[in-house]
Every structure is written in C-alpha cells, then in structure tokens.
C-alpha cells in the first residue's frame, strides 16, 4: 500500500525527541528519571491514540540505543493524531518527567523534538527519524518536519508530497 490519501485514518504522527544526558545513565543523579521510565512507558502504551514506540530488542525501552551519540537518548513513537500525542506528552504523568528535565538533560540549543506524518502501519526507523530532525534543524518547520508550536496537518503534508512528486515519477 502506498496510499497518499490525505484523510486522517491513513496517516499517523511520528515523533522523535532526543535528550543529552548530563550524567551517565547509571549515575544516581539519573535514577529518579530511570525510575519513572517504566510507569510512564506503560502509561504511553495504554494512552488513547498510541500506536507504537521504539523498543530495543530484549529491552523494555529504547534508552540503550544511542544512534545520535553516546550520551544522547532517543524516544521514537507513533500516534493516531497530534491531539493524542499532545495529551500524552503534556497531560499525563509524562509531564512530571518534562518538568524535571533540567535535572537530567542538557539544554538543547537546536530543536530536540520533531514531528512528521507517516502512512498508517509504517514504523519509522531511527535513521528516518534523525533525518527529519536534521531537516527541521536545517530548514525550520515544514510539512515534512515540524513541531507542536508550528504543526502541519496530514492533508498539508500529503499536498506537499504531491507537489514534490512529479519529478520523482519516471513514466
């Protein structure tokens, strides 16, 4: 299936955020964060509109994967809608983690969160996710890579793709 229909049921919202650890992951100062991981991930798994999150093989989460650097943890998820992702991120127990982020993570000067639309059923890889983040950092928000503060709808993303498409379709 390569449907590019703009209607909402065919598109899901992918989100990547990166966080640079201030201390090694097993440092006692990181422990309060590590302790919140399981309950918060469990809350995500049963949150309305949750579709998928990246988990390392044989682990409960993705904190062991370090595709963006040894001290950078990544969080890659897929949701049915922007509202579902927003409500989980900022209106669930996850907000408490966010509130205390400065205790555990370095401040990022560049964007550390990126959103983009994917076809329903697609599981974005880490490479794809990091490309979107790089795109956001390089060019600012666009229908291909955006943020909560400047977001685009699935229909806008589809229209944007359609606008790029002709040059890519040989005969």
């Amino acid at each position: 299936m390569t449907s590019t229909a703009p209607s909402a049921p065919h598109a899901h919202l992918a989100q990547l955020n990166v966080a640079t650890l201030r201390y090694p992951f097993d440092d006692p100062r990181i422990a309060p964060f590590a302790e919140m991981l399981d309950p918060v991930n469990a809350a995500a798994d049963r949150a309305p509109g949750f579709v998928w999150r990246l988990v390392e093989d044989g682990a409960a989460d993705a904190t062991g994967l370090r595709p963006a650097g040894e001290d950078v943890i990544v969080n890659l998820t897929v949701w049915e809608s922007r509202e579902a992702l927003w409500d989980f991120t900022y209106r669930s127990g996850h907000l408490e983690v966010m509130r205390r982020r400065r205790e555990w993570f370095e401040r990022h000067v560049e964007a550390h969160l990126v959103l983009w639309w994917v076809p329903a059923g697609h599981r974005p890889g880490v490479g794809e996710a990091l490309e979107r983040l790089a795109e956001l950092r390089a060019h600012g928000p666009s229908p291909r890579a955006f943020t909560f503060a400047s977001s685009f709808t699935a229909a806008e993303a589809a229209a944007h793709r359609a606008g790029e498409a002709p040059s890519r379709q040989p005969g």
């Binding site: 049963r46 409500d87 991120t89 900022y90 209106r91 669930s92 127990g93 907000l95 408490e96 966010m98 509130r99 982020r101 400065r102 401040r107 503060a149």
Partner: protein
C-alpha cells in the same frame, strides 16, 4: 463578536447566574437543570442560554438526557457547556499575553526553569502572607477559587480504575459542593488553568511554574500538598491531604 460585546452579555443578572452555573458543572447542562439552578422559568432560561451561545460564551449540543438511545428514548434535549475560547478586555488596550509568551520563550530557550520556579514559589508565599500553611481541603478550595482555578473535589479511587469510573459516570458524579475536609481519598482538582494560553505553548516550563506557585500559596509541609497529576482539559495540579498528616 468583539470580546467586549461578548462580556457585556453577562451584564444581565439572570444570564450571569446561568452562565456561572453551567461553567461550574464542568459538563453538559440541560435547560431544565439550568433554569432550576438559576431560579427562573424554563423558557426564560432557554432564551438566555441561547443569547450566551450566540455570544460565543457557551456552546450548545443535543443529547438524550435519559441516557437511553434508540426508538422510544425521547427527543434529544439541548445542552450547554462553556466555550473553549478566552475573552478578555483591557482598557486601555494592553497585551500581557504577548509579553508572557515572549518571556516564556526566552526562558525556555535559556533553560531558566529553576529560576522561574523559585520566583513563582516566592510569589505564592508572598500571596499567602503571614498565614499558616493551608489547613484543609475546604480552605484550599477557597484559596484556589479566589485565584480562578475553579477547584472541585473528587473522590480518588486508587490507580487507573478511577479514570475508568470517571469516564462512565462523568464529572457530574463527583462530590462537588460538599465539605471535603478529612475525607480519605479526596483530591481537589481544578477545571481552569489561569495560565492556559502560555501553558499550552510551553507546558513543562509554565506547568512547573504553576506547581511552584501553588506550593508557595498553600505552603509545603502543612496538612495539604500540591502535586502534578495532569489530565486533558484541566489544570496540571491536584491538591490532597499530605501523606504525613497523621501526627
């Protein structure tokens, strides 16, 4: 409709009572119920509720209030809830929201969460003045109501089950309006975030500020305490009896 015109619609005392009643319920309210609460006839209440809807202060829908559906369930009744938008008027024109958003953006970019929270906690303490820490949940509700948080009491069963029960019973099933002091498992929740517009744009920063402000306002180490427990559509904080309040 201009904000000032919409607000002027509340000048009529009956309309104002109806509006305040609907807002305080935090759920859809039917015409009969609103009329009864405001002490006016149903037709008059219907007229004023429609005026409030036209002004964009309420939104209306229709629902079968019996809870039944299908043939024989009766005609759907008109119901009202508060509109989500904000109305404000400043004379002369001032624009504190833009100032707040710019300051929040700068604080966010500079990572100033800790400093902002410290300032908020001090402000909360200053607002409390020389008063002792808040003594019980009823007092907490008065303090919070005075600052626009629209507090209400809720029986908190433990864990996610409570959320399931809420979804079934609706928010009307809580113990709103009753004395709540000393009742085990009761929490005070807040329907309104006074910092809503900025909190939506910078949630961790502004919600953290809000929690610190409330900690200062209610006092820490006293009989009640505030903690973060966000839920869609409400303030991020709940207030409850302190765990170590037994001695």
């Amino acid at each position: 409709m201009e904000d000032i015109d919409a607000i002027a619609v509340l000048q009529d005392p009956v309309r104002r009572r109806l509006y305040e009643y609907v807002v305080a319920q935090g759920r859809e309210v039917g015409r009969n119920e609103a009329a009864e609460a405001a002490g006016v006839a149903r037709t008059l209440a219907a007229h004023h509720l429609e005026r409030l809807t036209e002004a964009g202060l309420l939104v209306s829908g229709s629902r079968r209030l019996t809870g039944r559906s299908g043939p024989g369930a009766g005609r759907p009744a008109k119901v009202y809830t508060r509109a989500r938008g904000e109305r404000s008027v400043s004379l002369p024109a001032r624009d504190y929201r833009t100032a707040a958003e710019l300051l929040a953006q700068a604080a966010e970019e500079a990572g100033l969460d800790a400093g902002l929270c410290a300032a908020a906690r001090r402000r909360g303490e200053a607002l409390r003045g020389s008063a002792a820490p808040c003594g019980d949940l009823d007092e907490a509700r008065r303090i919070l109501a005075a600052r626009g948080y629209e507090p209400y009491a809720e029986e908190a069963a433990d864990g996610p089950r409570a959320a399931d029960e809420r979804a079934i019973e609706g928010p009307g099933a809580v113990t709103d309006g009753q004395a709540v002091a000393g009742r085990a498992g009761t929490v005070v929740r807040m329907r309104n975030c006074p910092f809503h517009a900025v909190a939506e744009r910078f949630p961790p920063l502004v919600c953290g500020m809000n929690l610190a402000l409330l900690e200062g306002l209610l006092g820490t180490g006293g009989p009640v305490s505030a903690r973060m427990d966000p839920r869609p559509g409400e303030c991020c904080v709940v207030v409850e009896a302190s765990k170590n309040n037994e001695h």
